[in-house]
């Protein structure tokens, strides 16, 4: 499969997370979800964030998306501070978040229809190409409820990619899928990332998934949410989940997470 026509520019953005902190007000006092997070993400880089539930990794993703505001610090995209959501940063969620009142094709068109510089002909061509890209062109007219879980996430991926964002933010997009479907989607995502060269920030619980996909993996600790370790994954692509080298990296990261959990358990 090839890069969709009319959308071939492979622009991606640098992200700079600078001393980001986020505190939520709750009835039983304030909760510090993120504490002084700093990250430099190169353009075209694939970053994975792993850590226990409640470590604030999804909050960080929402802040980069512009859906939430940080309490302190800021995120810059190519040197400009992020003020709100924008179609240059597309997001994928654990739930597919596809709109049931639209067909598969209608969903992929949704983001495109909000791009005023495209003609209708361009939009239709781009939508068709992206359904091709995820292998679902024959389902263009189908309703969302007719698709399997894996197909829904594929449509969500096509919908997010179609407006040609510079950054993709993915919040555990494969967590609710079965293992077989997930492995297929790792393959798809790696292929598409190699072709389209987006900057991707990918949040997951699954260490192997992170090692399989990421250039770098950041490990988060909890209370308050902070980065405790960074791993560079230099394995050749496409990577296979069952690769020995991949398993070795994963074991190393899992060990860090275990030590963290034990420390947290012994120190209430």
């Amino acid at each position: 499969m090839t890069v969709p026509a009319g959308n071939s520019d492979q622009s991606a953005a640098k992200l700079s997370v600078q001393h980001v902190g986020k505190t939520f007000r709750a009835n039983h006092g304030d909760v510090e979800a993120l504490h002084d997070i700093s990250l430099e993400i190169r353009d075209h880089e694939f970053i994975c964030l792993v850590g226990p539930s409640g470590c604030g990794k999804s909050t960080l993703l929402n802040i980069i998306a512009g859906l939430e505001k940080p309490t302190s610090g800021q995120v810059q995209e190519d040197g400009t501070a992020i003020a709100g959501p924008g179609p240059d940063r597309m997001m994928m969620f654990q739930e597919h978040a596809l709109f049931p009142w639209l067909t598969v094709h209608g969903n992929v068109m949704f983001g495109l229809n909000r791009r005023s510089q495209l003609t209708r002909k361009d939009r239709l061509a781009i939508a068709r190409d992206h359904l091709d890209l995820v292998g679902l062109s024959q389902f263009a007219g189908a309703g969302i409820h007719q698709l399997s879980g894996g197909m829904k996430q594929r449509v969500a991926l096509a919908r997010a990619l179609a407006p040609n964002p510079r950054v993709m933010l993915m919040d555990e997009p494969f967590a609710s899928l079965d293992a077989m479907t997930r492995e297929q989607l790792y393959g798809d995502l790696q292929r598409i990332w190699t072709e389209r060269r987006k900057t991707i920030v990918f949040v997951t619980h699954n260490v192997r998934e992170a090692v399989c996909l990421g250039d770098r993996v950041f490990v988060f600790d909890i209370n308050p949410g902070r980065i405790t370790a960074e791993f560079r994954i230099d394995l050749p692509r496409p990577r296979n989940m069952n690769d020995v080298g991949l398993a070795r990296h994963a074991a190393e990261i899992t060990q860090v997470l275990k030590t963290m959990a034990e420390a947290a358990g012994g120190n209430p």
Binding site: P85, W101, R114, R115
Partner: protein, 257 residues
């Protein structure tokens, strides 16, 4: 093939009903004032249709329904939206909504007559009071049940303000809107018939008035004929308006009702 057979059974059933009814009429068990022949009923309908009374009355009734139901829907939708979005509205208007929803709208007839007199406004007031509350409750439910993730996904795709409300929030409430519209329709129809039977006005005789005068004139063929017309109209509206909407929902949402 199966559908055809089913329809045949239905038709045969009504032919049977027709003959049993006619047989009972001929047996003279009850006075013919109380139980007319089905043939008389159709003869009445034929004459009423030829004179045009039937169509004029149907149109008068429909005009009232369209105006009352339409404005009731809009008011109800707005009210429901306010109740769902603002806590202060829910604590005040929301309570009124729930309360008035339980009140049969025919109870508004005495008040409506004194306020508006024997006018179209009196009729429409009753219809609106029948429509607003159930629509408001359905819309409020719909707005409260919009999955928050739709809004987040739409905002990252560049939808804001009007666009967000019109292209995401509104369609997300569609299943609730349609069931609200359907229920409100049933209430509106009942309210109007009650109003037309109780309120005599000179600006137009609706189907309810024909029923009323049928009783006054002891014309049971007219009463039964008009009842038949009202039933058929109800079925036709459901088929033409609500069935397509529900089919769309079933196709897209995959809900089977």
């Amino acid at each position: 093939m199966k559908g055809l057979r089913r329809r045949l059974v239905t038709c045969l059933f009504f032919v049977l009903v027709f003959f049993v009814w006619e047989a009972m009429f001929r047996a003279r068990i009850w006075s013919r004032v109380l139980v007319p022949s089905p043939v008389d009923v159709f003869v009445y309908l034929y004459h009423a249709a030829r004179e045009g009374t039937l169509f004029v009355a149907t149109w008068v009734t429909f005009k009232r329904l369209l105006i009352g139901y339409g404005s009731g829907l809009l008011t109800g939708a707005l009210l429901g939206f306010l109740n769902a979005r603002f806590r202060i509205a829910d604590a005040t208007l929301g309570v009124i909504t729930l309360g008035f929803q339980t009140l049969p709208s025919v109870c508004w007839v005495p008040l409506s007559l004194l306020w508006f007199g024997q006018t179209e406004a009196a009729m429409q007031f009753v219809v609106i009071m029948g429509t607003v509350w159930s629509m408001a409750i359905a819309v409020a439910d719909g707005v409260r049940n919009i999955p928050p993730i739709y809004g987040r996904a739409a905002r990252t795709m560049g939808a804001t303000g009007f666009n967000l409300w019109f292209c995401v929030m509104l369609p997300a409430t569609l299943p609730f809107l349609v069931s609200g519209m359907k229920q409100s329709w049933a209430f509106a129809w009942r309210s109007l018939m009650a109003a037309e039977i109780y309120v005599t006005i000179l600006t137009g005789f609706g189907l309810g008035h024909l029923l009323h005068y049928g009783r006054e004139l002891h014309a049971m063929d007219q009463v039964l004929g008009i009842i038949l017309v009202i039933i058929v109209l109800g079925l036709v509206i459901t088929r033409l308006v609500f069935t397509p909407m529900e089919q769309f929902l079933a196709r897209r949402w995959g809900t089977v009702k």
